[in-house]
Amino acid sequence: MAVIFALDALTGAVFLLTTLGVVANRQVLASLQLFIAQSLLLTFSAILLGIATHSLHLFAVAAITVATKTVLIPWVLRHTVSSEVYRTREIDRVLNIPSSLLIAAALVVFAYAVANPMLSAVHTPFAKINLPLGIAAMLLGIFTVVVRREAVPQLLGLLALENGVFFAGVAIVPDLPVIAELAAAVDVPVVALVVGMLTRRIHVRLGTTSVGRLVALRED
C-alpha cells in the first residue's frame, strides 16, 4: 500500500510537470506530446488506484483514457488541423513564458490552499495526492486557454483542464457509474473533433489559427 501511495505521488509530480509543460512550451507539436504524456500519467494513476481500492471502474477509466486521449484525440487533431499548424515553432501568446511560469507557480499554491479544507473535512487517502494536483492542473489548463493565442494550444489547455478533473476524480469518486464515465469519455473526443473542425474552418477562411487575434467582435 505504501509503495502504491509513493508511486501515485510520483505519478502526480510528473503529471504536474507535464501540465506545466503544456503551459510553458513554445512548440505546438511539443504541446500535443506533453498532453499525451499527461494522459498516460492519468492512466497510470487510475491503474494504481484501481489496484489499491480494488475498483474495476478505475481500470475502465484507464482503458477509456488510453483509447480516447492518447490515440483518438491526437489522431483527430492531426487529421482535422492541417500539418502546417504543427510546424509552427513560436506559439503566439499573451504573456511571456517567465511571467506565465510565475503565475503558474502561484496557481499551484492556490490549488493546495483550495484543496486543504476539503481534505481536512473527509478522509479519502489518495485524495491527498490527487485532489490538489488535479485542481492545479485545472487551474493551469484554464490559464493556458487564457494566455495562448493559437487554436490548437488553446484546445490542449482545455483538454489538460479535463485531465485535471479526471486526475482528481479517480481519487475522490472511484465508483462513478460506468455509464457516466463512458458518456464523459465520449464527450472529450467530441470536444476535440468540434474544436478541431472549427480550427480548420478558421484556418481556411482566415488564413490563420491565431484565434486570440480575432477581435472583430467587441464592445468599444
Partner: protein
Amino acid sequence: MELAGVLFFPALACALSLSPLGRHGRAAPITLIGSVIVFALAVRVAIAAAHGGHIEAFGEWLTCDGLGALVLGLVALVAMTAALFSWSYIRVRAAHGGKRKEQNYYGLYNLFIMSLLAVPILANVALMWVAVELTTLLSAFLVGFEDTPEALEAAWKYVVLTTVGAVLALFGFLILYWGSRIAGFEPFTWVGLVEAAPRMPPALLWPAFLLILVGFGTKVGLVPMHTWLPDAHSQAPASICALLSGVETTTVLYVILRLFPVVGGVPTLDARPWFICFGLLSVCIATLLLVYVRDFKRMFAFSTVEHMGIILVAAGLGGAEAHLGAAYQITGHALAKSFCFFSAGSVAMTFGTQEIASVRGLVKFAPLSAIALAGGAFAITGAPPFALFVSEFLIFKAGIASGQYLTIALLSFFVAVAFCAVLYHVNRMTFGAPHGHPTLAPLPWSCKATLVIAAIPLLAIGIYIPVVLQNLLRAAAAAMGG
C-alpha cells in the same frame, strides 16, 4: 412514455433530414413536423406535471417534475417556432453554401434540440452534465453557420469558454458525488442530492456549489463570464439565436436553480447572497452595455444577460412568491426573447445589416417587421400587458414583502434603465427618418408566418394565464425550494 418520445422524435427527424429523404428542401418540413410532435408530447408531460404527477420512463432514467416540465415545454415551443422560421430563412441564407448545407443545418438543429430537451428530463446528474455539454458542441457549427470571420470567431469563443465552464461544473458534480457517497449511498439524482445534502460535509458542498455556479454561469452568460454571449447570440442565424437566447440559457440556468434546494438543506450555508450578487452584477453590466450597443441583435443578447440576472435575483430573494416570479420570468423570457430574435432576424434580412444606425424608418419599409420589433421590445423590457411585466412585478412585490429593499431598489432601477435603452434604440429604428432609399430584400413567407404565430402565446399569457399553466408554475416554484 412521452419522455422517451421527446428524445426519440428529434433523433428520427435528424436521421430523416440527413438521409436522401431530406434532399430538395424536404428537411425543413420534416423538422417542423418532428418539432410539432415533440411539442405535443411536451404539453402532455407539462399537464401531467401540473397536476402533481410524477412522470418517468425507462425505469428511473428519465424523470420530470414541475420545473423540468416547464423548461421542457418552453424548449419544445421555441424549437417549433424556430423550425418554422428556419424553413425559408435558412433556404435563403444557405443558398450559396452548396447542396448539403441546408441538410446539415437541420441535422444539427434536431440534435441540438434533442440535447436541450434531455437536460431537464435526465435523472442522473452526470448524464445531465453530458447533455449540457452536448448542447454546446452540437450548436457550435450552428453558431458558425454563416461562415463569416465574425461568425467563426463567435463560434470559437462560444465553444472554448463554455466548455471550460462546463468542465469546471463537471468537477463540481464529482465533488457532489463524493459528498453524497460520504453521506451514505443515495442515487446520484437531484432528488437523491436533496436528501443527501444535510449529511454532506459543508466543506465539500460549498466548493461544489461555487464551481457549478461559476461553470454553468459561464454558459448562462452571467457577468463576468458573459463575454462570449453577445458574440454568439448575434452572429448565429436568427432561428438559432432564438434558441440560444430564449431557451438554451434558461436550460442551463435550470441546473443552477436545481442546486438551490440542495444547498438550502445545509443550515450553515446560504446560497442566496451569491445568487443576488451575481444576478445584480449581471443586470447592472448588461444594462450599461445596452445603452451603448450599436448592433440590434447584440442588443437583444445583452437583454438576455439582464434577464438571467433578474431570474437569479428572484431565486435568491427566496420564498414561494419570488420563486413563482422566477418561474414566470423564465416563461416570459423564453417567449419574448425568441420573438425578439425572429423580428430582429427579419429586419436584418430585409435591410442586410445588423447595425442600429443603418436601420431607419422601418415602419415605412417593412411594417410587419416594424410592428414585431416594437412589440418584441415592449414585451422583453417588461411593459404591460406582456408576461414579463407581471413576473417582474411579482418579483418586486416578493422582495419588498420580505424586506430586501436595497436589492429591489437596484433591480428596479436597472430594469427601468434597460427599458429606456432598448426602447430608445428600437424607436429610432422603427420611426426614425430614413436616410436615402435603402435596398430592401423581400421577407420570405415562413418568417412572416412565424412573426404572427409566435406572437399569439406571447400576447396570450400576458393577458390570461390558464389554470394548468398556473399550476405548472407553482409546481416549478416548489421545485426551486420555494
